[in-house]
Amino acid sequence: MEDDTIIVESPEELGADIYRRVIIDVLSDLALGRVLLKVRAFVDVTEPVFIFLGLRKKGLASVKISDFADLEIGGYGKAEVLISLNKEAYIPQLLTKLWERYGRGNILHEERTLIVVETPDYMTEVDLLGDMVIDEKVQEINDRIVDAMLRIIPEGFRVRYHQLTDEYILFVASEDPIKQDWKDRAVSMRDQLLKEVGLNA
């Protein structure tokens, strides 16, 4: 496999090779293969330092109610909003959010694909509900990325420095206090990678 998606550098070549395999295994275990565009890592056990850099793919929108359901106001004289679902996948998260906001007694879910919300402000609530965020994909993926980091970093390296943004994740870990040199190296790796991608795109 001669691609440049994942590259691990180290003074010890064989160690780097096997570490690349570990990163592939962990990322695929956590289903992060499609989330990270490029991965660079640097390991030097003599220092000791471990630097991990992952470039993230963009375009993970959060899921709103209007994405998978139609909303309308209930029949004449009824203070309610009707949510008719096109997809059943999000029902558990949706119900939890609705219960939080309106109270359990005001949510009727008698039919599988129809949820009735009883509220006196149904005229305004109907618009508000449409924009309600049900599933925060970004948050979940961030959690998974951090989990992957902790699995990849050598276990003894408990002193860590990190940057997590929408564009990239950067981790520096060691068992000694993090040196400025290492941070500088990580940042230059990041800049170079961002430049590479910018040029290729």
């Binding site: 010890e12 064989l14 096997i18 570490y19 395999r21 570990v22 390991v43 000791p48 699995r151 003894g156």
Partner: protein, 308 residues
């Protein structure tokens, strides 16, 4: 001379094998029944193996040599976190078990890191209760040769080290054998070279035991551990109620009895043999670091002056 063997076959009529081995003067070390299958690990007198082979054929079972039978091996990992488990530690342990060994996994409390790794006195004693320690290490040569040998301090038993790079054993202080091509692996070990490396671990451990047995041959134990096992089973009824997988675990120079030390060690010491000696006369009985069990270290002929 007894030959360690493993019988694998159906449950139907497997008691014939047990009876035959006992009639021949051999010992049943372990019996595992899994639904309709049974695996028996046993010691058979070497000149009578043919008889057991014939019966095995008749019962449509399979008989193989299990060179690691009657030994207890510590598989040592720097910690028990997901960086080491379940692969490759569990896979290596399983390969050793398949050849008849009893393995215990030892996860050190503070075994991680290069500068920071350390081993406690309790962990050291616990590892020393085994016949061999297999240390499972990672991917970097520098780490294995420079940092980790700290974890071997005070270990008196043979040490096998596994890791990824090719390293000359002379570069690892205090270790006896090094096996490469393993290292930190986050998937199940099933590729050819990984399986081969694990076979190699089994081989080197087997060789260490051959050497140890040769050493024992120069100054024999006063009584063979399997015989003590049998006598304890006959004379201490409480052992039959122990739910641990192997209530009496054999080691090369003794055994571990999985009963509470304070309650039972005197009873174990009083176990007697037809020759008229008691176990406490020919063995040291001490407390194990593992769950307060009883450790029996059998004295050699040069200490007691006789063999039974």
């Amino acid at each position: 001379m007894l030959e360690p063997m493993m019988y694998e076959g159906g449950v139907h009529k497997h008691n014939l094998i047990e009876e035959l081995v006992e009639d021949l003067g051999g010992y049943i070390l372990q019996k595992n029944i899994m639904q309709t299958e049974v695996v028996i690990i046993m010691l058979v007198p070497i000149k009578d193996t043919g008889l057991v082979e014939d019966l095995t054929k008749k019962l449509l079972g399979e008989l193989t040599r299990a060179p690691l039978s009657g030994t207890e091996i510590a598989v040592v990992a720097p910690t028990l976190a997901y960086h080491h488990l379940p692969h490759p530690d569990c896979d290596i342990a399983e390969f050793l078990r398949r050849k008849g060994a009893k393995t215990n996994m030892v996860g050190l409390g503070r075994g991680v890191g290069a500068r920071t790794c350390q081993i406690s006195a309790h962990e050291r004693e616990l590892i020393n209760e085994h016949d061999v320690a297999v240390y499972v290490f990672g991917n970097f040569k520098h780490c294995i040769t420079e940092s980790k040998p700290k974890l071997f301090e005070g270990i008196d038993i043979p040490i096998v080290v596994t890791g990824a790079p090719e390293i000359d054993i002379a570069d690892i202080p205090d270790a006896d054998v090094y096996v490469g091509n393993l290292g930190r692996i986050a998937h199940r070990l099933r590729k050819g070279e990984e399986m081969f490396a694990m076979d190699q671990v089994v081989d080197v451990v087997g060789k260490i035991f051959d050497k140890e047995r040769e050493e024992i041959g120069k100054d024999l134990l006063s009584v063979m551990p399997p015989r003590v096992k049998k006598e304890i089973e006959d004379q201490v009824p409480a052992i039959n109620e122990v739910l641990s997988p192997l209530p009496i675990t054999l080691r090369l120079r003794g055994l571990k009895v999985k009963l509470d030390f304070d309650e039972f060690h005197e009873q174990i010491g009083e176990v007697s043999f037809v020759e008229g000696v008691k176990l406490k006369d020919i063995a040291d009985i001490r407390r194990s670091n593992m769950k307060n069990f009883i450790l029996v270290d059998i004295k050699t002929k040069s200490e007691t002056g006789f063999l039974i």
